[in-house]
């Protein structure tokens, strides 16, 4: 049977091209793989190969013709003893999906605000005995408990084993679980992040420790492209249930390459969950939750907070759900929204403000993906003013995102523009006085609150 040869699409964007040259003539016998013609696209001149065997019955488009649309018949291939006229009248091929006008799916305005159904239920039962514990101990206990509970959980990273952890978060774990489950790696961030992700795709639950998140930049491809996207790209067949954790943000006097808050970077990626705890109880409950979660979780700790002590529930097992912010301090005059070490400045500012008769409500977001918008909106509806507090850079910060969200969903409740308190828009300097100036301070938060409360 005669078959039509159609003008091919030779690149993802080609719609038409020039039939530069025929390399066969009518009557030639061709087989699969033979070059039929040269076709010019906007990018290059390409050879066009035969797919079927046959005899060139007729060349329908003369060489040199420009603007030949993709899928136009350009030649007819016949079998031995067959006439070119036997070619089927150019039948209307079903319009290929690719050429179809995009289905009318108007870009929806951002999803309407969820009616703020606020969950401020207590994280643990009333009357639970508490114990004092540092963030460091809380993180270690979380890993120890989860590794005891589930044999597929293991820890890998630089100096996590014999050295007992560069920041001593994994102290004692090697002794308890052995080298099968506490794996010291060489200094190879992209390599071990990739190996960890592969192990997760195969069903293990790795905790990949970065000595600091600054070094995770070397591994960004695996966090984003391999871990976060696989579930979607596989149509739900496999994902990467794992945790990437380590200290994030500025420590002290370690300058630009070791002092950066990556919260906003990771929070942008669908497929990741992003956690940034402040207190020891949250660090423990959220890390346990992260290890059990079936998705890749970026867990951002803070070196300065490691040594701080907090009250932690003395329970055999407790977790804190993602997407549930915590109202840490009640107030009626202004909402302060923060997370991670930003909470230090927010709480300090609230204390100072209280002394001046301004009652600030302080919300700890705790997780940045998902974000608990409802708690923020409900608070803003009450206080009518909002200041966000974070250590990261100002451009495209978490605060910027919240401002936009509040404007879209609670505009009529606002009595003043939302102000974002952030770190300064400079690489972190080394000099002590400059470093202090680059970081967010509680005085800046106080000043911002006075501005939105017109005091």
């Amino acid at each position: 049977m005669a078959t039509e040869i159609l003008m091919p699409a030779l690149s993802p964007t080609m719609e038409e091209g020039t039939l530069a040259k025929w390399l066969v003539k009518e009557g030639d016998t061709v087989k699969s793989g033979d070059i039929l013609a040269e076709i010019e696209t906007d990018k290059a001149t390409m050879e066009f190969e035969a797919v079927d065997e046959g005899i060139v019955g007729k060349l329908l488009i003369a060489e040199g013709t420009q603007g030949v649309k993709v899928n136009t018949p350009i030649a007819v291939l016949v079998e031995e003893g067959e006439s070119a006229d036997a070619a089927p009248a150019a039948k209307a091929e079903p319009t290929p999906a690719a050429a179809e006008a995009p289905a009318a799916a108007p870009a929806q305005a951002a999803a309407p605000a969820p009616a703020p159904v606020v969950d401020q239920s207590p994280d643990w039962p009333e009357g639970t005995p508490m114990k004092t514990m540092t963030v460091r101990e809380a993180l270690r206990e979380a890993m120890e408990e989860e590794m005891t509970r589930d044999d597929t959980v293991f820890l890998m990273g630089e100096e996590v084993g014999e050295y007992q952890g560069a920041y001593k978060i994994s102290q004692g774990l090697l002794d308890k679980f052995g080298p099968r489950r506490v794996v010291d790696t060489p200094i190879s961030e992209i390599g071990f992040a990739g190996i960890g992700t592969g192990a997760a795709m195969a069903g293990l639950r790795p905790i990949v420790e970065f000595m600091t998140f600054n070094f995770a930049m070397q591994a960004m491809d695996h966090i984003i492209n391999s871990a976060a996207k696989t579930l979607y790209m596989s149509g739900g067949q496999m994902g990467a249930p794992m945790v990437f954790r380590g200290p994030n943000g500025a420590a002290a006097r370690v300058a630009a390459q070791h002092s950066q808050d990556y919260a906003a970077w990771f929070a942008q990626i669908p497929g990741l969950k992003v956690v940034m705890p402040y207190s020891a109880a949250d660090a423990k409950g959220l890390l346990k939750q992260a290890i059990r979660d079936n998705n890749p979780v970026v867990f951002l700790e803070n070196e300065i907070l490691y040594g701080r002590s907090f009250e932690v529930p003395d329970l055999e097992d407790f977790t804190i759900p993602f997407g549930k912010a915590k109202v840490v301090r009640q107030g009626r005059d202004v909402t302060l929204v923060s997370f991670g070490i930003g909470m230090t400045h927010a709480l300090e500012a609230a204390e100072k403000l209280a002394g001046e008769g301004i009652e600030a409500e302080v919300i700890d977001l705790r997780t940045l993906r998902p974000i608990d918008y409802a708690t923020v909106i409900a608070s803003v509806q009450k206080t009518n003013r909002c200041v966000t507090v974070e250590e990261g850079f100002p451009v495209c910060s978490i605060g910027n995102h919240l401002s936009a969200y509040i404007m879209e969903n609670a505009f009529d409740y606002l009595d003043a523009p939302v102000i974002n308190c952030t770190g300064k828009d400079v690489p972190m300097p080394y000099a002590a006085n400059l470093e202090k100036h680059a970081l967010i301070t509680s005085d800046e938060v106080v000043a911002a609150v006075k501005k939105v409360t017109y005091r």
């Binding site: 159609l6 091919p8 699409a9 030779l10 690149s11 993802p12 080609m14 699969s32 793989g33 070059i35 990018k43 290059a44 001149t45 390409m46 050879e47 066009f48 190969e49 797919v51 993709v70 899928n71 079903p94 290929p96 999906a97 690719a98 050429a99 293991f154 060489p186 190879s188 992209i190 390599g191 071990f192 990739g194 190996i195 960890g196 992700t197 592969g198 192990a199 997760a200 795709m201 195969a202 069903g203 293990l204 695996h222 492209n225 391999s226 696989t230 579930l231 979607y232 790209m233 596989s234 149509g235 739900g236 067949q237 496999m238 249930p241 497929g271 059990r292 979660d293 079936n294 998705n295």
Partner: protein, 336 residues
């Protein structure tokens, strides 16, 4: 047709059934890829589409050494690997056309397909990312204490990425059961090996890490199989990784939109005429009187039917429902 005999024809231990299987499996890949090229030309397949034509003996030879539970992972030139490990032609083709019947429900495309059932872990679009991921799959098998092996395929182009060497180091350090298969088709997109490295071999780079390896004629499926069996045996025995540098050749461009100005048409034609892997097995079948021309014609017809059926399925399978945009971003429940 003039065929150069492979260095040593090791057909004595090969059964008729095996030869027929290799013939069939390689032919399926080639005809499938030709059809994919055709559908791309018709605008039914979009984006990037990297064909495997010419390299069929690599993956078919490696698969001959695999057993149930072994894992495989590769780059974006992945259609051949999926067919060779038993994934359905229909599901692969329908993914190429972006339809709901595809392996990833149309959300992955040519470069991103997976099968939990067949232990195929992708389909990865970032050059060399699959190498540490593959070592991670092997890590999981070692962790669980089974004797499964992972095949981590990558090209001569990927061999110049740093993460390959971080992976070599850890794979050998931890004795991971992974076979690194370098499919050396001699061109990293348009850059020949000569223009990208002064190394004369790629497997030899493993030596620095203590990893054994060898170069194999990738146009001879029996040679690939023999080398694969040796590599796999070493890994199953717990003796760590192994590198196979399989010398092969792709007949088509790097992707569909490759003007192919970096090599001559004669060079390509010479490989097709003298070293074609499918013709090689065909010759063995015919000269060894294992099969007649008619037998092979029947196989050709059978393959053509499978491929045409996959193309029909891929055209008729509906596009994914718009709700699919919002599914599979997060896995729901947490583990028990």
């Amino acid at each position: 047709m003039v065929r150069k005999p492979a260095a040593k024809e090791s057909t004595s231990n090969v059964s008729r059934d095996e030869l027929l299987k290799y013939y069939r499996d390689m032919l399926l890949i080639r005809r499938f890829e030709e059809k994919a090229g055709q559908l791309y030309g018709m605008g039914l397949i979009g984006g990037f589409c990297h064909l495997y034509i010419g390299q069929e003996a690599v993956v078919v030879g490696l698969e001959a050494a695999a057993k149930e539970g072994d894992k495989r992972i590769t780059s974006y030139r992945d259609h051949g690997h999926m067919l060779a490990c038993g994934m359905e032609a229909r599901g692969v083709m329908a993914e190429l056309t972006g339809r709901s019947g595809g392996y990833s429900k149309g959300k992955g495309g040519s470069m991103h397909m997976f099968s939990r059932e067949k232990h195929f872990y992708g389909g990865h679009g970032i050059v060399a990312a699959q190498v540490p991921l593959g070592a991670g799959l092997a890590f999981a098998d070692k962790y669980r204490g089974n004797d499964n092996v992972t095949f981590a395929y990558f090209g001569d182009g990927a061999a110049n990425q740093g993460q390959v060497y971080e992976t070599y180091n850890m794979a050998e350090l931890w004795n991971l059961p992974v076979v690194f298969v370098i499919e050396n088709n001699q061109y990293a997109m348009g850059t020949s090996m000569k223009r990208s490295t002064k190394s004369t071999t790629l497997f030899g780079r493993g030596e620095a890490f203590g990893i054994k390896g060898e170069q194999v004629d990738g146009m001879d499926v029996l040679a690939v199989k023999a080398a694969a069996e040796k590599a796999v045996a070493q890994c199953r025995a717990g003796n760590g990784p192994y590198i196979l540098e399989v010398m092969t050749y792709r007949y088509r461009g790097h992707s569909m939109s490759d003007p192919a100005k970096y090599r001559t048409r004669e060079e390509v034609q010479k490989m097709r005429d003298e070293r074609d892997a499918i013709e090689h097995v065909r010759d063995l079948l015919l000269t060894g009187k294992h099969a007649s021309e008619d037998d092979l014609k029947a196989i050709d017809k059978e393959i053509k039917d499978i491929v045409n059926d996959s193309a029909e399925f891929a055209k008729e399978s509906p596009e994914p429902a718009l709700e699919e945009l919002w599914t599979d971003i997060y896995a729901e429940e947490k583990s028990a």
